[in-house]
Symmetry: C3
Subunit: 257 residues, 3 copies
């Protein structure tokens, strides 16, 4: 089975997503198409990278991920195909792919470098074709010209010392939960045998739950979520609205000796 | 063919829905996935139950319905799998399943009771696995521990006498039509040979149409819809906004001798 | 392989779309279903026609397009199946199909004319059945009664002279780009060797780009898009909001000798 996933900022009220799918089906009707999301905020690379990083490994190895987010990029951005962690990715070299994995790529190819076509719809006219070839078993090295490196953007880093972890909210999900970049692993290494306080906005909490429903309705909870990232929410409420926090807000964990 | 449907309150701008699908595909790539909706209002059991009740019987018998609505539930809510009307359902025992059928369940199993795992993402880590097993032909009795009964919530009941039927709006659909819990069957039994008046808000109507387009544009219509439930709308308009009615508003049918 | 696409104004928070799909799957589980969009504005024939016209030819010939937009239509509107440009269409004869192609239909059949059923949900009870038959290889002529002509609506026409092309915005897409009905072909015929000015709102531009990213961020661009239609946008911005233009706004191209 060959799977192509689709992640775009195209919305669902236009013909764009259907046009990409139609192209793929027309080339190879045996491909299974799965939507990741088409509700990425327009050109929001951070949003797209969070979602893709959170889910791509859940698909079988060899899955092809077609990414149509900010596909126009900026002048000079190449169209690329890459293999990373045994998955394939096709999209624009706008910095997004540097945010989804800490591993090096296994292969990196510039598409559309040989017999280049000019198009305002690269998802359909370039990415769909490359994704079909990869999903049909064509070697990635046959898709274009090898490139040494794709664009890397500097992502928000957690600052961690023996006294304090300082992180940021990297995603407000659709129900208003606040997902930070503070990992369970970092916390467990630094928190051993120590009393801690989690601080954000004007709030202070001394307990991280293991389940959302350890909070009472309307109360705040803090958990390490299914991505092993610290997540803040209001049980059956919208934490972003109720706490006044959003993308990039600071979250601290203070340790006492 | 084995079908798994998905009904969640996860929205479409995050990784959650794709993560559930990826898990299912990774376990059994032969399963056909069909979305019912991911736009259920967060934790809105009434909304989810209305939608599921309205459509589950339209799928072939044996279909597995994975329900990820208010999946965290409240403390102590079990994860369950049940067979009812020859369909399978997997989800949280938060009261939703009691609202989708008036029949008794054929089988009821508590999931995650043996070799329990702790997770904040039961849709992916518990429900997807159970749904895959059911869709792959594993007997429901092999999925966990039998339970005597799932949680029943008291649903709004229609009051029906020889003089009057009193019901409520149980769903405002996305175009603003108002669907009530007054069934065609109840109406037909009680209305025989009688003049009737349908009352809601300040409005009174003496005719129930058989087609929406018997109304003129901008005019109110009342029909028994495709679910055989009394539905009120404005032809090519938004009845909820224009009439000021919403979920739970009262609708009366008064009979004259 | 047989494909049925779905294009509706039903939204995604109700049971309607799933009910149509469930009916099709129940009749013929071998059919591949592909969503075009369910986010068409309620009863907005112009929106639906734009999307369908833009994408139907990208699907393989023989694809069946089930159109559930304004399906109730007006009193007396027939349910129809037609073959056009080697594609099949099923829906209500409300004028939409006249807007998607300039070619004549190959076949036109009135559905539900023989053994007519009364339903408030024709997408499920009439269109799904007809779409299944067509996708399963049944001849369209076996589906009902031949009709001479479907309803034609008068679409906005471009006015083109040697001195000026006057067109209109026919779609504001989900990111706010403004798509006009001025085709590249018309422009190329009339613009040969001439200096031109594109005018809209209070703006004047003397250059049509070939790529979106020839504009700087926040600047206006004009391109012939992937449909070969003149499109106006703000690079990484919302042109409709920023320029104050919307559906039906006028766009002029003035030629100087």
């Amino acid at each position: 089975m060959s799977i192509v996933t689709l992640l775009t900022d195209s919305g669902e009220s236009d013909h764009y997503v259907a046009a990409i799918k139609a192209r793929i089906i027309s080339i190879n009707p045996g491909i299974r198409l799965e939507d990741i999301s088409h509700k990425i905020k327009p050109a929001d690379i951070a949003h797209a990278a969070f979602v893709l990083r959170a889910v791509f490994r859940d698909f079988p190895k060899g899955t092809v991920h077609l990414v149509g987010v900010d596909s126009t990029g900026n002048r000079g951005d190449a169209y690329i195909a890459l293999q990373m962690e045994d998955h394939f990715f096709v999209g624009c070299d706008n910095g997004l792919f540097g945010l989804i994995s800490d591993k090096a790529q296994q292969q990196l190819i510039e598409l559309n470098a040989i017999n280049s076509i000019s198009t305002t719809f690269p998802e359909r006219d370039v990415f769909a074709h490359a994704a079909c070839k990869l999903a049909s078993g064509v070697s990635i090295t046959n898709l274009g010209k090898p490139m040494p490196q794709f664009r890397k953007m500097i992502d928000r880093q957690v600052k961690a010392t023996k006294k304090q972890i300082t992180g940021n909210i990297i995603r407000v999900d659709s129900i208003g939960n606040l997902i930070t970049n503070i990992s369970k692993e970092t916390f467990e290494i630094l928190s051993k045998g120590k009393v801690y306080t989690v601080q954000f906005g004007g709030e202070k909490f001394r307990r991280i739950y293991t389940q959302y429903n350890q909070a009472d309705q309307g109360d705040c909870f803090i958990v390490f979520n299914s991505l092993n990232l610290l997540e803040i929410g209001i049980f059956k409420g919208n934490a972003s609205e109720l706490l006044g926090l959003g993308y990039d807000s600071t979250v601290n964990i203070i340790f006492e000796e």
